[in-house]
Symmetry: C2
Subunit: 428 residues, 2 copies
């Protein structure tokens, strides 16, 4: 059975995307929403707010893409011209839409502002286009068809584009293409294994994977391995028709999981901080963290998890030696004898915060984040961490590389992984 | 005098860029480095690790771009095929380069690994290409010319691409194009002004700006306004030849600055945390922060600035009520009477941490980051902050919107801005 390929291009419009400014992040969720409709993104393009450039990109994509999603440039500022660029490409005049105009009036009334001619241009759409109402903002989007292609135009504001995509674009695309293709993706997140080792461990499996694709991505948070595949389902019985393929997929996912076991901390969308929260909850343990070089990043990451107030008691950033003595009771003699960046001080911090806050687990981190402060004996990137709890005390030493941001991010990840492993250990 | 336009396209290669994974961030610094050579990026493209897609993008760009920079897909994994795609496009066979191979051997020797045939493919470059040596990694890049176009191929690892761009690509591009175009960009960062207000304030200036471009970007960190322009300089006397244009630019930049004054906290590359550090240093003040809903983010952001150990004494994350009592001495009666999220508790936190750590400035933050924990009276996004120091005590109340991440980021920015304004006040 042939898997009919449905391809999409995403064109992000905005001069700020081309220089200095942020990169186009809308395309991430747009691509995911398209995948849910069986449509694969093959190209992402960013162009400035210039009509000629938008049109050139659009014409290029019309040659091969079934779906073209444009985002941005629908607002009311002078440089916004996506609406005009698309209308001209298809030779459709822009016509004022009553419903869009009423929505604009209602929106601006809330801010106590009238709809000036400049603002009103948001209510103009190419003739024949299907309006995509904006329930959370001002500018509507729109959808057009041209031969085999569907052109979707969304506002650049992520929240507005997301709502429009889910409530209006996905249903239309499903109806038009009636796709029986589905995208399967499984991600494995590892920490502590170098990229080359991960690759080496996977190489026996990688030899014969057929139409399944592998991806490898290294970042300060660790190495992520993705396994992905487009699969076919019958419209009547998805489970039944995909079953011939199922064993192959399940087998491979299990094989990869086994391979990566030593460093695997999470799968799918889950993050290290969520996993740590889960194991702490599982133990009914509370935790307190004393940080130096990470400056609060470990505590912050722990508390990004909704509901973390159940297990996070407190964090202290004992940046100065004075704070280390006062907040967690590190003896002045220990600081003097071993220096602030030492395994002894990390242990004193862990024990100190555990005792003072009467939690189950205390954690201490001290190191040199750079760029200054390094010496030959204690270079930038040297980090000591310790954990003190029901399973006793453990200390670790790491040497990280990178700039200040990278070193603190790697350190926070290593410390969270240390907590995870500690809490996962069988009780002594 | 005509400003000859030099255009570049950037093609980022990597299937992970198309779905779920990270967005292409290399293009940001590549675009900046090109601007320094008088070359303007007009289009950014991301494609997967598929030869046909890379070639299609490359052929499209060859039609109009003077410079095409490809990044990624030069590694040794099976899916890396940028090298092959480029070589085939120009009909140049891949040839093993001795110098590249020697560098590979030296690199892998450090990891104690031999250069397998798969790894060795990194040493093959298209015949006739100029090799760009990799001094910080394994895969070399390369540079080719085709008619009017220069094609630059860089590794996907940001650190490697950056070094190559600065030390090898920029000099070559300057030599080839001998451009007398320069890019001027000035960014103004504001906080506390809604985007519509910023636009309104700027509208009288926006009317007649000639070839100067404006950009407006709203994020949880505030609204950034950019003013940019391509200007021409003579090769002999840059200062002299650009002077006719200079007054216009200077005037506009000053006008924008005046307009944005009420919310302006930084210009150029500077961040809120750097500015806060600077004003604290200027006052010779030390600071300590007690955080609840932000979970350490304020302290972490303060300490991301190199040298912040001079003024940051400590931070505490008093997440639980117990921690609020113990770490900063918030009276149980205050907690009971007003609730943890109240102006009274924020003030008690600020005063408590200031007294206990004997610093000049104490800061307290308490709020509801969500998604749970909100009530009708105290909804998600409600935040109280207080600052206590030589200028007395100040408290603020905010109602933020967004998800947990957005609310904590906005809160941290608002708190840093509060510290900045407090320290900038004239002493009473």
């Amino acid at each position: 059975m042939n898997i009919k390929p449905l391809h999409a291009d995403i064109i992000a419009v905005g001069s700020e995307l081309l220089l200095g400014g942020p990169v186009d992040s809308n395309s991430v969720f747009v691509a995911n929403f398209l995948a849910e409709c069986g449509i694969e993104v093959r190209k992402k393009i960013s162009v400035g707010d210039q009509k000629a450039d938008i049109q050139e990109a659009l014409r290029g994509s019309l040659k091969r893409a079934h779906v073209i999603v444009l985002t941005g440039g629908l607002g009311s500022t002078l440089d916004d011209c996506t609406r005009e660029a698309v209308a001209e490409t298809f030779g459709c005049p822009l016509i004022k839409r009553k419903r869009a105009y009423e929505n604009l009036k209602a929106c601006y009334r809330r801010f106590g502002r009238p709809v000036t001619p400049l603002l009103a241009k948001q209510a103009f759409l190419p003739s024949g286009a299907r309006m995509l109402g904006n329930t959370v903002g001002t500018a509507p989007g729109f959808l057009m068809r041209d031969g085999q292609s569907v052109i979707v135009v969304l506002p650049g504001v992520p929240r507005e584009a997301k709502v429009m995509m889910i409530s209006q674009v996905q249903p239309v695309l499903r109806k038009i293409f009636n796709s029986n293709r589905h995208y399967w993706l499984h991600a494995f997140h590892t920490f502590g294994l170098p990229e080359t080792d991960v690759q080496k461990q996977l190489s026996p499996i990688l030899k014969d994977v057929g139409r399944i694709q592998f991806g490898l991505l290294a970042s300060p948070r660790g190495v992520t391995v993705t396994v992905s595949c487009w699969v076919l389902s019958g419209s009547r019985s998805f489970v039944k028709e995909k079953s011939p393929f199922f064993p192959e997929w399940v087998h491979l996912v299990n094989q990869v999981r086994e391979c990566l076991r030593p460093g695997l901390f999470a799968e799918g969308e889950r993050t290290m901080e969520e996993i740590v929260g889960e194991v702490l909850r599982g133990r009914s343990w509370t935790i307190a963290v004393a940080e130096s070089c990470t400056g609060g990043l470990v505590a912050h990451r722990l508390t990004t998890v909704p509901g973390s107030s159940c297990y996070v008691d407190r964090g202290v950033v004992s940046y100065s030696n004075k704070a280390k003595r006062e907040l967690v009771g590190v003896p002045a003699s220990t600081l003097g004898r071993y220096g602030a960046v030492s395994s002894q001080v990390a242990m004193a911090m862990a024990k100190g915060i555990r005792m003072r806050s009467r939690v189950d687990v205390g954690v201490g981190v001290t190191g040199i984040a750079g760029p200054g402060g390094g010496t030959v004996e204690k270079p930038v990137g040297l980090v000591y961490a310790a954990i003190d709890g029901p399973h006793g005390t453990q200390a670790r030493r790491w040497q990280f590389w990178g700039d200040r941001t990278e070193i603190t991010l790697k350190t926070s990840q290593a410390v969270l992984d240390l907590i995870r492993r500690y809490a996962n250990e069988v009780s002594p």
